[in-house]
Amino acid sequence: MESQNKNEIEIARRSFLGNVSAGLAGIGVMQLLRDASICGAQDWKAGQGQTHFEPKAKRVVQIFCPGAASHMDLWEHKPELARYHGKPLPGEENYVSFQGKNGNLMQSPWPFVPGGESGKEISSLLPNMSQHVDDIAFIHSMTSKSNTHGPGCIFMNTGHPTEGFPAAGAWTSYALGSENENLPAYVAIPDIRGEPPNGKANWSNGFLPARHQAIVMSNQQPIRNLERPDFVSEQTETASRSLLDRLNQSYAESRPGESALQARIAAYELAGRMQMSAPEVSELSQESESTHDFYGTRDSNSLKAAYAKNCLFTRRLLERGVRYVSLYCASRASGVDGLLNWDAHKTLKSDYERHCPVFDQPTAALLSDLKTRGMLDDTLILWTTEFGRMPTHQQGTAGRDHNPDGFTCWMMGAGVQGGVSYGATDPFGRRAEVNPTTVWDFYATVLHLLGFDHEQLTWYYNGLDRRITDVHGHVISEILT
């Protein structure tokens, strides 16, 4: 399948036909040459499970809380906010941010409590997550290029605030290929409430071949077109597939050397295997009662139950060799209130008292489960959001506006130190102050853990060898084991 992409431009650039002479059949040669050129003299090949160097992580789950989940109300304790509550933010009085004017500083409505041996304080709204702080590396100094949800989300996912670029999962699919050919390499699991801001651009293949886009599935929504309709009998289906296979084989046989035709036959075989495996992954009934309770899949809060099912589903996908899972907790901004996602403009307190219980137990259960199963050793867990929130309240409201200048993301698992906090915002949480970190640094680190030099994982597109890190990015070595 890899042979079908047409990104063989390197060769023409280096000198047309100069290289196109080695043996082997057809496009495979071009592929080989292109791959060689991607990695200079090294002979790394894309899409075959190879890496630039020994990886720590074999798979990634990226939990995304869209709407800009507030760093100072969840992860980064800012005691000064309580001390200066109701006073203007020094130097930025009447600051105008995304939605308008800001009022005075506003303390977090909930206390922060220490957890674990590290004593890391996080919000008391997240009691279950608090049990994991010793395994987490918090990055408190993230910054974004956009203060708007849509561009912010795709920036966090693709390294570019405009549409059309591949998401981290698509890069991973391109770099590694699939581990389990019966399942996609990259799966996106949207929240039951709908897609995140900017929708499908968050898991797009961008300019990479279409097969690197995420397959959208969730416990609520199976892969599209997976099942044959009921009115087709099993007999007819079997006979049809076999006739089709013969017709396609004979067409391909009379055209030797056309690898595209062979690829198509293989794709139909793969589709058949996917039809067998994909429904099995969603069979949560195979899980024990206690597992269900542990995740909260039967909670009376239907949003929580749905997210819990997706958490459990995530673990099953990871176990079966899916390389990259993007798991969403919440959806787009609804424009009326903070009902659909973490965008607490008006009523922070009631909004987060709704969202946190949805997020806390199921997420913590997923982390515990992966740990118990020994999967944390080679599974990288990312928690991300598109940007942070202002330390002030939005004028005339009890909520916070967008703040791209400082926020928190975290990593955990394969190759990541636990119980550490890297970087910090200023005492109020307004701006990243210690070790400001970019989304590019974040992904340079993720790729590093996956065994890749982010500067060497490239794809030529319109004038440049493109990278998820654009022309930036440094590995955050301080949080690595």
Partner: protein
């Protein structure tokens, strides 16, 4: 000591060494006076380091940290360099590594090695001399001598070119043969006619040939049989649809705005029709390009040309509305950036967008070139405007204006009565106010108590909204409680008590019940019922004796004034025993008004007399009549060609340092690209020049006959679509990072032909398709494949998979249900939902109204449409000069299981029965003719007859629709 030479020797040492050498050799070795010290060679030593590592960020166009290393000025001024004193020169600290840590500079890329640091140190110690004439700039890899910029070369030495008997097609063959010979390859013989007509028909129209067309061609004995086919296809309207689709890819045409909101644009389709019509009419492409950039101003009163400027705004843009001024400026810059990229890539094949933050790294494009284009396009905003002939506009206005005048007159009469009514009310304000002795309505908690009464139903009816008393429909309720008469009163309205709430509410399609009435009686705050038709009705499980009601929209909220808690200005509460007959229980008429507007609304209600009512009713009737007449006049067509904004177009224009609008740099004016000045007459306009003049100047400059680049780019695109790969493999990048041409002379020959044919492309198709190169078979030869696997040298015709559009059109076409209706609003294969932002759900069933050619699909950005997306239809976030061609299991799943396949299989089966009769053998033959333009083999007959017998013709058709033979052309 010379094994590891220092990059530069300390001056004294060098001096003495040279003296020694001179002494030893006994010859004078300096041209200069012997007592003059030799110059430290800045250009050979320091300059390359700065070029390589520093100036990308520290240039006048970027000035990271407010430092430019273009000259020594900033270094001296900021104390980074103290000539003669390396110790005191901060520059060295910045680039020197300590304890193995990465030095703080350079921030990106490789750090300086110790030799390079030593060079800088030596240079500083020796006075940090920087020759005045040297300005350090990052050099692009390519310069003005780059092949793509050069004038067309037509002095070819090929015999075929010079022979008077050669046709243009022969010349193409000669160029191709020349390269084949060099590689020891041979062109394939002419393809079988069945193959050839399939190839040509798909190539020019994107559709399969009909069996009749195939037979006619196969049996045509005339020498120019193929030429006739080509001419017929070029004359077909299907040609413009197919090649129009190609062009729409190039100009990143998409019908939603992308980004967060991604709203559908429903009046951009006229641009799609304009492209199709222009291509069908063989409109000269230079004219098309001029219309794309300035069609609104080329000629007076030409709406047909003005539509072309929709090109400028056919890309994605962020319209979310940002109050943060810094971000808003950045978003505006991004919007113009998108137009610059689209323009430069589509017409010039240059990635000028790369020069936004600094001079282009690879191509000789300066940052100021980029900002010249910025100035040129600065007046364009996304949006719609009326695009019609002046005459049409005048006629329309003549109809509308008298009615508008009438409407205004009636409206002011009505307003006058309302004012008078209010004044009467105000005159009695004190009197009323004495009756208003209850507490005003409170968003945090409103309470009504009354003597115990029995009710099975209870209804809250709005008489107005607190923010807008005229609105009786919408309000929010976080909880509504009804208390019974028990000693400890019980809230009988609770859903957990068995009560049921009803009332129209704000609806979100993909999240049903998000704002439903059940939220008013769920016993929880936070989530709210959002009424949309002014009532909330609660039914108790059994009749209840009640005595008190409490309700709110912002209970316990510290800032109840926000719009999200919108509440009531006046209301009535009614009860009923059967849900049909209602009696009033209590209302808010005794309460103090919540605000002045609410008070006035109430006063007006109280002081309206029957005469007032009569008059108002009459006026309202008349108004309705006028409005009806206005609605009957069809509105003028408003097209999404963008809005011209003179304020935005007002200079001065600066380049943005590092691409940031917050850091204006040097002034720029609308002007042509610097690097092409050597070949094309340049232009530079005043900053004050009218916005449209700038666009027209740019367009004229692009299509200037001396500007060979756009000509090469265009003919290469045409070649690309004919052969699957261009002579230049990167159709929108003719710069250093793009590919070099496989046949440079051929490219120029084609470009010259384009000029000769006055930029009409049909004759180019003709000459290409009549070549033997085009007509050769696609047979594969392993020996040749070993040399040139992709057939870039064209030893065979490269076979290809159909595009997404072609696949869908083919399925519809062979089934005989393709609807060839041209133009107009597009159809949709998704369900569109809008709730602040938009969501697109792919449809599981495609009705016959979607059986049009895929080019008429309303392509929304970031939407997934099974078949189309899976077969690599681009998202149109960017221009897509070449599509990828992937093969995936998802394609197989969709082709096998989507209801579209079954619908088409049924249609095809019907067609076979209709046209070939009931005999399976005949049906199968007909199916093969339709799908593969040939007869089945005896094996195929046998197997398929048996299959059809056992599983039905429909099932067979489903299989055929999935075959590779249907979707590959040779």
């Amino acid at each position: 000591m010379f094994e590891e030479p220092l990059p530069i020797l300390p001056r004294q040492y060098a001096w003495s060494l040279l003296t020694v050498i001179a002494f030893v050799l006994g010859v004078p070795c300096f041209a200069e006076e012997a007592d003059e010290e030799p110059q430290f060679d800045f250009a050979a030593t320091v300059q390359p380091i700065l070029e390589e590592h520093c100036v990308r960020c520290h240039s006048p166009g970027n000035r990271k940290g407010e430092v430019s290393l273009e000259t020594i000025d900033d270094l001296l001024e900021n104390g980074y360099v103290t000539p003669g004193d390396a110790q005191a020169s901060y520059l060295l600290d910045l680039v020197t590594s300590e304890d193995g840590e990465r030095p703080s500079m350079p921030k990106e890329g490789t750090v300086l090695n110790s030799d390079q640091v030593a060079v800088l140190k030596t240079w500083i110690e020796h006075g940090a001399e920087w020759p005045e004439e040297i300005i350090v700039r990052e050099r692009s890899k390519a310069d003005g001598t780059w092949w793509a910029f050069q004038p067309l070369r037509t002095d070819f030495e090929l015999p075929a070119v010079q022979s008077p008997n050669s046709s243009a097609s022969d010349v193409i063959d000669a160029f191709i043969e020349q390269r084949l010979e060099e590689a020891g390859l041979h062109r394939n013989p002419i393809a079988d006619r069945r193959v050839l007509i399939g190839r040509a028909t798909y190539d020019l129209t994107g559709l399969p040939p009909t069996p009749e067309e195939v037979e006619a061609f196969v049996n045509d004995p005339s020498e120019n049989a193929f030429e006739k086919v080509v001419d017929r296809l070029l004359a077909s309207p299907r040609y413009g649809e197919h090649w129009g689709r190609h062009w729409l890819d190039v100009v990143r045409f998409g019908e939603s705005n992308g980004f967060e909101r991604n709203v559908l644009i429903n009046n951009l389709w006229p641009f799609r029709d304009y492209v199709i019509e222009s291509i069908n009419a063989d409109k000269p492409f230079d004219q098309l390009i001029r219309e794309h950039l300035a069609g609104d101003v080329l000629e007076e009163d030409r709406p047909d040309q003005a539509v072309g400027t929709a090109f400028l705004v056919a890309g994605p843009y962020d319209d979310v509305g940002n109050q943060d001024a810094v971000q808003a400026a950045q978003i505006r810059a991004n919007t113009i950036d998108e137009m610059i990229r689209a323009t430069s890539e589509a017409f010039l094949g240059l990635t000028i967008g790369c020069a936004r933050c600094h001079d282009h790294k690879f191509d000789p494009i300066l940052q100021r070139d980029y900002y010249s284009l910025y100035a040129t396009l600065s007046g364009i905003k996304h949006g719609s405007q009326v695009v019609v002939h002046k005459q049409t506009k005048a006629e329309h206005d003549a109809k509308v204006q008298p009615l508008e005048a009438k409407r205004q007159e009636l409206t002011s009469k009505r307003d006058a009565i309302n004012r008078e009514v209010l004044e009467r009310g105000l005159a009695r304000l004190e009197e009323y106010e004495q009756e208003w002795d209850r507490e005003p309505i409170d968003r945090r908690l409103t309470t009504d108590e009354f003597p115990p009464v029995e009710a099975k139903f209870l209804r809250l009816r709005s008489l107005g909204q607190d923010n807008n008393p005229g609105n009786r429909n919408s309000f929010a309720i976080d909880e509504f409680e009804v208390w019974d008469t028990a000693d400890v009163p019980r809230n009988v309205a609770l859903a957990s008590n068995g009560s049921v709430a009803t009332g129209a509410s704000r609806h979100i399609e993909d999240f049903p019940g998000a704002y439903g009435p059940h939220l008013a009686i769920d016993g929880e705050l936070g989530e709210r019922f959002l009424a949309t038709s002014g009532t909330l009705t609660i039914e108790f499980p059994k009749p209840e004796r009640i005595q008190k009601i409490t309700f709110s929209s912002a209970r316990n909220e510290s800032e109840p004034g926000q719009p999200k808690f919108v509440f009531l200005s006046d209301y009535v509460i009614e009860i009923s025993t059967d849900g049909e007959h209602w009696e009033e229980l209590i209302d808010s008429s005794q309460r103090k008004p919540v605000n002045e507007a609410a008070r006035n609304a109430r006063l007006s209600r109280l002081s309206t007399t029957p005469e007032d009512q009569q008059q108002l009713a009459k006026l309202n009737r008349e108004l309705a009549e006028v409005n009806r007449k206005l609605r009957e006049i069809p509105p003028l067509p408003s097209i999404f060609i963008g809005v011209r904004d003179a304020n935005l177009a007002e200079g001065p224009f600066h380049l943005f340092l590092g691409g940031s609008p917050q850091r204006p740099g040097d002034l720029v004016t609308p002007a042509s690209l610097n690097v092409l000045d050597q070949f094309v007459p340049n232009y530079e306009l005043e900053t004050e020049s009218p916005e449209h003049q700038r666009r027209a100047a740019l367009a004229d400059w692009i299509v200037h006959p001396e500007n060979a680049l756009p000509q090469r780019v265009l003919v290469n695109r045409i070649w690309h679509y004919h052969f699957g790969t261009g002579i230049v493999e990167t159709p929108s990048d003719f710069g250093y990072m793009g590919a070099e041409p496989s046949h440079p002379q051929l490219l120029d020959f084609l470009a010259a032909h384009l000029l000769e044919s006055e930029w009409r492309i049909k004759s180019l198709h003709r000459m290409i398709m009549l070549s033997k190169t085009y007509q050769q078979s696609s047979d594969n030869h392993p020996e040749a494949a070993r040399v040139d696997a992709d057939a870039r040298l064209l030893w065979r015709f490269p076979p290809r998979r159909l595009s997404a559009e072609e696949i869908r059109d083919t399925m519809l076409s062979v089934a005989g249900v393709l609807n060839l209706q041209m133009g107009g609003p597009g159809f949709r294969l998704y369900h569109f939902m809008q709730d602040n932002v938009c969501t697109y759900e792919p449809l599981d069933v495609h009705g016959p109204e979607t059986y049009r050619r895929a080019v008429y699909h309303q392509n929304a950005r970031a939407s997934v449409v099974d078949l189309m997306t899976e077969f690599d239809q681009p998202d149109c976030a960017f221009s897509t000069p070449r599509r990828s061609e992937t093969t995936t299991p998802l394609q197989a799943l969709t082709m096998l299981n989507h209801s579209f396949t079954f619908d088409i299989a049924n249609e095809l089966a019907d067609r076979l029965r209709r046209e070939a009769g009931e005999v399976p053998h005949d049906q199968i033959r007909h199916a093969w003719q339709l799908c593969y333009a040939r007869d089945p083999s005896s094996d195929e007959f046998e197997e398929c007859e048996l299959f059809a017998q056992q599983h039905g013709v429909e099932a067979l058709c489903r299989v055929l629709l999935n075959t590779s033979a249907l979707i590959y052309v040779e």
